[in-house]
Subunit: 166 residues, 2 copies
DNA sequence: CGAATATCAGTGACACTGAAATTA
DNA sequence: CTAATTTCAGTGGCACTGATATTC
């Protein structure tokens, strides 16, 4: 009903056919699936799952409470518990009591966890390059900006952090 | 080795800071997660899962074999079986023997399935609009092009279909 | 008391692998 | 016999809800 008539009018001279949000969703889903598949394959040799790797990346900035990790990952706090369990079991992170709030738990990297960050980053970069490798620097910048806009509109916490660097 | 030196040379005067593929991966993952969450919520009232909805959309173009559905969805054939099981159980699709190849199964929409396509499309559009709604027509076009490039490089079948329209 | 924090228990969607049956 | 198609069986990742204990 709404996407039918392509609106062949000018506006921008280049855009001769409006792109539906649904099409974007389809494409983004496919790209994400490919990205996930590659990442899982790269992370497996390190003994990490994707979610665990993302937690490690959050912890690289310093100790975090469970709720803050959840906010950074955009998941409910309960979901973070088993992720940190896995990291703790692997000796990559450790839980410590929060001196300021006895309800909270501070999660911090161990030495082993910090040492793994290099390999982790290399794996991340490698699998991401496998997907975005064909994009030029300009295209990457454009894609970054667009995804940032999308993410920001959704109230993404980790995007706010990157906003400062830009 | 390959992604190191940012190549600060001119080329395009606008790009003053290269965007790492890893950052793009992070952003894309977040956007995909938000998209999935919204879609699941919109699809639940229709009694559909995300994967089932995607299968329906593929079938909208006509009957498909299981292997072709798998290719369109970019998953292994085995994964499609339970999806079609669900659709068949809900009376939205049906399996028929392929007259040309007795190994194959042709999956086609039923009347109920075809009738549901409208609601399905509305739900898809609605949840996608919730994520991409802040983008202008030009930005959508740009994002579409970029994601298409990424997807195409990965040998995505469903992207090839859209390529014809472009 | 109500609110926040983390956890326990259970559920569900979904993609994978390996193995089997049927047919080309 | 080899290859393709589908399905069976099992596994793993992960995100959700609801309920509970502790603490602010």
């Amino acid at each position: 009903m709404t996407t039918r008539a392509p609106l062949r009018r000018p506006g921008a001279a280049a855009a001769r056919r409006d792109v539906s949000a649904a099409d974007l969703a389809e494409l983004l889903g496919h790209a994400a699936r490919r990205l996930r598949r590659g990442s899982v394959a790269e992370l497996a040799p390190l003994g990490l799952t994707m979610a665990q790797a993302r937690v490690l990346r959050v912890l690289a900035a310093g100790p975090h409470r469970m709720a803050d990790i959840a906010a950074a990952l955009d998941v409910v706090p309960r979901t973070v518990t088993p992720m940190v369990d896995g990291l703790e079991g692997a000796g990559l992170a450790e839980r410590r009591p929060d001196p300021d709030d006895r309800r909270s738990v501070l999660v911090a990297l161990t030495h082993a966890g910090r040492r793994l960050l290099h390999d982790l980053d290399a794996a991340r970069r490698h699998s991401a390059e496998d997907v975005f490798g064909t994009l030029s620097a300009d295209e990457r910048l454009a894609l970054h900006g667009l995804l940032h806009t999308v993410c920001e509109a959704g109230g993404c916490h980790s995007c706010r952090a990157q906003q400062g660097e830009r």
